[in-house]
Amino acid sequence: MWHSRILLTLIIFLLPVCVVAQKKVVGNVVDTDRNPLPGVAVRIVESKLGTVTDVDGNYQLVGVYKGAVIEFSFLGMTTRTIKYKGEQEIDVVLTEDATQLDEVVVSAKTNINEIDIRARSGVVQSIDVKRVEEKPMIDMGLALQGSVPGLSIINTGDLGSVPEIRIRGNSSLRKGNATNEPLYVMDGQVITAETFYNLNSSDIQDIKVLKDAAACALYGIKAANGVLEITTKRGYEGKTSVNYNMNIGVTARGRRGIEMMSSAEKLELERLIQNPETPGYRYSADYYNRFHSTDPNLQNLIREGEMKLDSLRNINTDWFDELLHTSLYQKHNLSLKGGSSATSYYVSANYTQQGGRIPGNDKHRMSMRLNLDQRLGDIGYLMMSVNGGYSKTNTPNGTTNDPASLVYDLNPYEQKVGELWSNPGRTYSDLMNQFSEEGTDTDAGATASLTITPVSGLDIAAVGGVNFSLAENHQFTPSTAYTETHSGIPEEERGIYSKSKLSTINISSNVRITYSKTFNDKHDFTIGANTDYYMTSSDNVLMRGYGVGTINSAAAINQSLQGNRQPYVSGLRDKSAQIGIGIVSGYTYDGTYDLFATYKLDASSLLPSDKRWNSAWAVGAGWTPSQYKFFKRQRVLTALNLKASYGYMANLNGVSISSTVASFAYSTSKYENQRPLDLLALYNSDLKPEQTKSIDAGLSMQFFKRLTIDVNWYNRKTEDALLDVPIPASTGYTSLKRNIGSLQNQGVELSLNAKLVDLYNWTFIIGANMAYNHNKVLDLYYTDKIYTSDESIVPDYEVGKSYDMLYGPYSLGINPLTGYPVFLLPDGTEKQATEVLKPEDVIALGYSTPPYTGSFNLTLTYKSFDLDVDFYYSLGGIQRYNYSYVRTKDDIHKNAVAGQTENMWFRPGDQDKLYPTPFYTSTTAENNISLYPNSLTVGSSNYLRLSLISLRYRVPPKWLEKHIKFVKYANFAFQASNLFTWTKYSESDPESGTLAGTLQPVYTINMSLTF
C-alpha cells in the first residue's frame, strides 16, 4: 500500500493542476489467505454506482471521484471503506467476520443452528481450518491438536488408533470416549466420531468449537461434552474452477526414546544375572566353572564358550532401524466449484494414504462430496449434500501379537536368521506375519436443508439428513503362526478367521424458526423455537471360525469343528431416539448490551417413560464497552467485550436401556436342548442423567487494532455423576451404574493474536494459546472413597481430590541391603518395599492428564511466500514408565535398556542404584513395585512439539497468465507435521505413554493448481 501512496504523492507534485473529473479505478480483492474473493460488492457510498468482483476477485469501478468513499462488502467479511485519493488501482484485503454472517437477508447458512446471538454471550471459537489442512496427517482428529485452547486431543497409539478428544476435560467420572467425547455436527447433521476422524480436511470451510452451556444448550442432552460444528465448502456464483491439490512425501520413524544395550553390555548383564537360558551366562567361564567343574575338558569348554561369545559380540543389530521403517504419505484432492446466481455446486474427491512406523501398519482413505445449493426465488435456499468415504487401517498389532514391542525385546546379537534366544524355539520369521488386522470404515451421508425467509426478519429453516457408517474389522491368524502350531491344536483346527461388522445409522431432523427485528436502530430482538429428532440404530455382527489354514477367508472355516473351536456367531442390535423442543431468545441494545436465554427439553428412549424428559437451559449476558463514544476516541484499547453465562444440561452419554431396566438377550451358549437368555447387566431403576451446571466468563480485548487477547474462565460442575461402581460380590455382579457423586472442572483459557507487521507485501502474525484445566471430586454420595478394584490400596476417586491423579509411595531409592526400594511415608517414617503398603502410605505423584496444554504459532508472508509454523505443548502431567525393558532373572533373555548393568542392584552393598534386584526374593516387594507407581518410576510428560511447518510459494497470477494460461493459480509448498518433540521423558512417547505409539513425522511437498 505504501508504494501506491508514494506514487500518489508524486502524481500530486507533478500535476499541480487539480483535475476534478470522474475516474476509473481497478483492483483486486482477496481474503487474508490471499485467495481471490469473487462477488464482493464494491460501491461508492452516497451514490448508486457500484460493481461486484469477478471470479478472480478483480473489479473495475467507474465514476469514482477524489474524496469519494469506496465500500467493499462481502458476506462474512468485515466491510472496508477506503477514501479515494486518485489511485488507478486499489487492492483490498478483507478479513473474516463471523458476527457479520447474518446481516444479509437470505444467507446461505449451512448449519441452521448457527445463530449469531449465541456467540455474543456463549463461547464459540473457530478453528483455523487452513492450518489444519496444511498439516500432512491422515487423521483429521489429530490434526486439530492445539488449534483452540480447551480442545484437548491426545494420540493414544499407533497409526489409525482412535484419539482422545475432549472439550474442557472429562465431564463424567466415567472414563473413555463413549461418555466424554463431544458431539459432532456437520452441516446441521449429527455424525459419528468415526465419520469425523475420517473427514477430508480440504472439504471443510469452518469448524466451530462450542464450549459452554450457552453455546451448546441448543443441542440439548447430547451436547453436555461440547460440540464441534463442521461446515463444508459450498459452490459460488461464477465460472467453474477446478482445483487439484497434492501432497507427496515420507513418514519418518519418530523418536527413539530408549537406547537399548549393545551386544557386549547385554552379554555381560546376562553373565551377572546367571540365567542359563541366556548365552551371556550359558557360554561364560562362570557357568562352566559351576556346572562342569569336574569335566577334564573344562579349559576347552571355557575357550569354546569365549569364542562363541566373541562371535555374538561382533553382531550388533539395531532393531529400531530394522523393525521401524520410513514410509510414504500421499494426498490427492480434486475439487470443482462454481454456479450461477440460482444454482451453485461444490464437488470433491480425495485420496490419502499414510504408512505407519511398523511394516503392516498403514491407513488409506478415499472420500467424495457433492454440495448443491439452489436459490428459491427471493425467499430462500435449498442446500443438498451427499458425501461418502472409505478408510482402511491395517495393523499387525493384536492382543497377543505386538511386533512394535520387538524393538525392545530382540537382542542386539540376534539376527533375522536363526533361532532367537529372546523367543526360545522361534526364529524371526516366527514372530512376523503371525497376525493381521484390517479395520475399514465406510460412511455415506445425505443432508438437505431448506431456509426460507417469507417476511423480512423471519427465518424458517429445516435440515434433515442421514449418516450411515459401516465399521468392519477383520482379523486373521494363519495356521502357520507360532501360537497355532505350538498350543496342542490339531492341524485341521489351526488358523483363526474373524470378522465383525458394525453398521450405524444416524438420522437427524431439525426445524428452526427464528425471528429478528430491530426497533429504532437500537433494540435488536431475536426469538426462536426449534424441534429436533435424532435416531441412532446400530447392528453389530461378529463371526469367528477356525481351521482356515493359511486361507484368509470365511469360506475356509472348518464347519465340522466342535467344542472350543466350533464356529461362533454373535450379534447385537440397538436403537435409540431422542426428541427435543427448545426456545431461544436474545436482545441487544445498541450493539453494547447482549442478553441471551435458551431452554431445551429432550426426551430419550433410553430412559423409562416416567423419567424420559430432561431439560437444558442457559442464560448469558454480554457487554461491549468499546461501543461507547468516549471509548472510540482513544486508539489504544480498540475493542473490549465482556460476557458471562450460566447453564444447566443433562447428560446421558454411555447409558443404555439395559442399565435402567432388566434386559435380556439370548447368548451363544447352549444347555441340553435350550438356549439361554442372559441378563445383560445388573440394572438400576433409580438411574438419573448426569446434571452439568456451568458458569463461564470471558473477556476479549483488542489493542491498536493489532493485538487481540481472549480470556475465558469456566467452572463446570457435574452432579449425579454416573459411574460403574464396584458392589459387593454377593450381588452376583461386580459393578453397577449409579449416580455416585459430583465433580468439577475448572479452568482458564487464554489466547493471543498479534499482527506485528501488516503491510501489503509483508505480514507477520504470531499467536499463542494456553488452556488450564483442574478437576476435582466434590462429593461421593455413599462414601468418601471409591476403589474400582478390590486389590487397590489407592482410591480411584476420593472427595476433594483430582480424579486423574496418580498415587503411589515416595521412593528414597534402592536399599543397598535388600535391593528393593525404601519408601518415605507422609508421616516422615520409612518403610521397606518388602512390607505391605497401606492406603495412608501413598502420596499424590502427579496428574495423568496434563493440566496445561496449548500452542503457539507464527505466520509470515512476504510477497508470494507464506510461512506457517506451529508448536504444541503439554505441561504438568506425568506418565508411569513402562519399565518392561528393565530385565530380571525371569526375562533377561530379552534385550535390556542401555546402562542397566551399572544401574542395577546385584549384591548387598550396591549403593545408589536405580533398578531393584533382578532376583525374585520378596512377593510383597515385587507387588509393591509392579502394582503401584512410585516417585521414581514416573516421569514428567512435559513436551514441546514442532507440529507444523508449511512454506508456500504462490506463483504470481500474471506470470501464469503469460506462460500457462489454463492455470489460474498455482502454489507449491513444503509441508511437514510433527517434525520434532522436545521432552525430558525418557521413554519413547510422553503423550500416549506407550512404547509403540508416537506421532510419526511426515515431510511432504505440496502442489496446488487451480484451473
Binding site: Q562, A662, S663, Y671, Q674, T731
Partner: protein, 460 residues
C-alpha cells in the same frame, strides 16, 4: 401470510411428534416388563442360571485327599501352591468361588421375581411353570449350601456362628452374614418348597424331584439331622434300578450322553477338567493319591484311574473326565448327584444315629455291587465313620467331595504329600483356620456389614 406461517410451524412439529415414538424396544433384547412373561422365556432364563453354576470340583479335589503331586507339579506354581494350602492361593480361589455362586443365585432371584408375571395358557404350561419354580429354588438352595460348606466353619461347631449372606432380593444390599442355623433353615425351606412339585426330568441336566431329595439328604447330613438324612437318602434310592450304575454299567456314568443311571449332572458344552493335564505326551500336574486303592475286581478302578507312564514308571493318573480328555472324548456331563452317594449318606447317617450294623450293611450292599472289598463289621465309632469317608473317596475321587467330607467331620489332620505321595510335605491341622475359606475382599470391601472368618486378614 399468517396462515402459511402457521402451516410452516405446525406441520413439522406434528410430523415429528407423530412419527417418532420413543417407545423403542431393543430389537434383539427383551426388557421388563415384557421380557419374562412366557414359560419358554422363563425356561431360557433358568437355562442361563444352570450354565452360570460354577465348577470347582478340580480345585476342591486338589485341597482334599484325592491327589498327590507328580514330577510336573512344579511347572504350575499356582496349582502347587493351592495343593500346599497357601493362604494367597486359597484367598484367590475363595474370591472366585464366592462371586460365582452368587451370580447363579442372582440369576435365580431374577427369575423368581419375574415368575409371578409368567402367563399360562393351559395345564401343561401351568405344570411347566411349577417345575421351573421348583428347579430355580433347588438350584438356588444348592448354591447357598455350597457357599455355606465352604465359607462357614463346620456346622456342629457353634451353629450360631456366621454362615453366609442371605440375599433378600436382586441388587445391592449391605447385609451381614446370617448364622449357620439360619442359613440351613433357609436352604431347607427352599428345598421343601421345591420338592413339593412332582418333577421327573428326561435329561440329566435338569433338577428333578429326586435331585431335590438328594440335596435334602446332603443338607440334613451336614446339619446333623441323621434320621432325616437317612430318610431322604432312602427316598432317593426307593425306586432306583441298581444295575444302571453298578457293575459294567458304571462306565455309562462317564459317557457323553444323558443316562438314567445319574440323578443330576450339569450339561457342559465347554472343556472340563483340562487344567490337570500338563500336556498330552508328558502327563499331569497331579496323580491319584496312592492311598486310593481299588480291589482287582472293583469295576470302578478302570474308570477312576488312568495308568500312564511318567518319570519312567506307570502312575495312577486321574481317570473319569481326565481319561475322556486324554482319549479325545467329550465331557458333556459334570456329575453332581449320583445314586452311589445316597448309599454313603444313608450308611453314615445310620451309623451316627447308632445303627452301625445297618449302616455297614447299607454300604456293603453297594460295594458288593461294584465288586469292591466290603468294610468289616467290626468297625465302630470314629473309625467306622473315617472308613466310610475313605470308601467315599474311592467312589468320588476327583469330584471335590472328599474335601467337604473331611471338613464336615473334622476329626483328623490332612497330609500334603511330596511327589508321588512318597513322603509328607506338610500337615494341615484339623483345627486350622484354613479349612474355612476367607470372605473375599470383593465382598467386605463394599459391604461394611460382613465379617471376616477367623484367622484371615481384613483390609477395608
Amino acid at each position: 401470510m399468517k396462515n402459511i406461517l402457521k402451516y410452516l410451524i405446525c406441520i413439522p412439529l406434528v410430523a415429528i411428534f407423530c412419527g417418532c415414538s420413543l417407545n423403542i424396544p431393543p430389537p434383539d433384547q427383551f426388557s421388563d416388563p415384557d421380557a419374562i412373561t412366557t414359560v419358554s422365556t422363563a425356561r431360557s432364563l433358568l437355562t442361563s442360571a444352570y450354565i452360570s453354576y460354577p465348577h470347582y470340583e478340580y480345585q476342591l479335589s486338589i485341597l482334599g485327599e484325592d491327589f498327590c503331586p507328580t514330577s510336573l507339579s512344579g511347572k504350575d506354581v499356582e496349582q502347587q501352591n493351592l495343593y500346599r494350602w497357601q493362604d494367597n492361593s486359597i484367598t484367590e480361589l475363595a474370591d472366585e468361588v464366592w462371586g460365582a455362586y452368587y451370580t447363579t443365585i442372582a440369576y435365580c432371584d431374577v427369575l423368581l421375581e419375574r415368575l409371578p408375571n409368567v402367563a399360562i395358557a393351559n395345564a401343561s404350561e401351568e405344570n411347566e411353570k411349577a417345575v421351573i419354580a421348583s428347579e430355580t429354588k433347588a438350584l438356588k438352595a444348592l448354591c447357598y449350601f455350597r457357599l455355606l460348606q465352604l465359607f462357614a466353619t463346620p456346622y456342629h461347631k457353634n451353629i450360631k456362628a456366621d454362615g453366609v449372606v442371605i440375599k433378600t432380593r436382586i441388587g445391592v444390599e449391605t447385609i451381614a452374614r446370617s448364622s449357620k442355623e439360619v442359613c440351613v433353615n433357609y436352604i431347607r425351606t427352599l428345598l421343601l418348597e421345591a420338592v413339593s412339585t412332582d418333577n421327573v426330568s428326561e435329561k440329566n441336566g435338569w433338577l428333578s424331584q429326586k435331585a431335590v431329595y438328594h440335596i435334602l439328604s446332603q443338607l440334613e447330613l451336614y446339619a446333623g439331622n441323621y434320621t432325616k438324612a437317612a430318610e431322604y437318602a432312602e427316598e432317593v434310592l426307593s425306586d432306583a434300578d441298581e444295575s444302571l450304575f453298578t457293575g459294567t454299567n458304571y462306565r455309562y456314568l462317564w459317557s457323553a450322553n444323558s443316562y438314567e443311571g445319574r440323578i443330576f449332572a450339569f450339561n457342559s458344552s465347554t472343556t472340563y477338567y483340562t487344567s490337570i493335564q500338563y500336556d498330552e505326551p508328558n502327563g499331569d500336574y497331579f496323580a491319584v493319591n496312592p492311598n486310593v486303592k481299588y480291589a482287582q475286581t472293583d469295576v470302578r478302578k478302570e474308570y477312576n484311574i488312568y495308568p500312564f507312564t511318567m518319570s519312567g514308571e506307570s502312575r495312577n493318573l486321574f481317570g473319569k473326565y481326565n481319561m475322556n480328555n486324554r482319549k479325545g472324548e467329550p465331557n458333556n456331563y459334570v456329575e453332581m448327584m449320583r445314586y452311589a452317594e445316597a448309599y454313603f449318606i444313608a450308611a453314615e447317617a445310620y451309623c451316627r444315629d447308632g445303627y452301625e450294623s445297618k449302616g455297614v450293611s447299607k454300604l456293603n450292599h453297594y460295594l458288593a455291587l461294584c465288586g469292591a472289598e466290603e468294610i468289616p463289621s467290626t468297625l465302630s465309632g470314629d473309625e467306622l465313620i473315617n472308613r466310610i469317608v475313605d470308601e467315599k473317596l474311592l467312589e468320588f475321587v476327583g469330584e471335590g467331595v472328599n474335601y467337604l467330607d473331611i471338613k464336615r467331620i473334622s476329626n483328623s489332620d490332612l497330609k500334603r504329600y511330596a511327589t508321588w505321595g512318597k513322603s509328607t510335605y506338610s500337615t494341615i491341622r484339623k483345627d486350622s483356620y484354613k479349612w474355612t475359606f476367607p470372605i473375599p475382599s470383593s465382598e467386605y470391601r463394599y459391604n461394611e456389614a460382613v465379617s471376616q472368618n477367623e484367622g484371615w486378614p481384613i483390609n477395608r
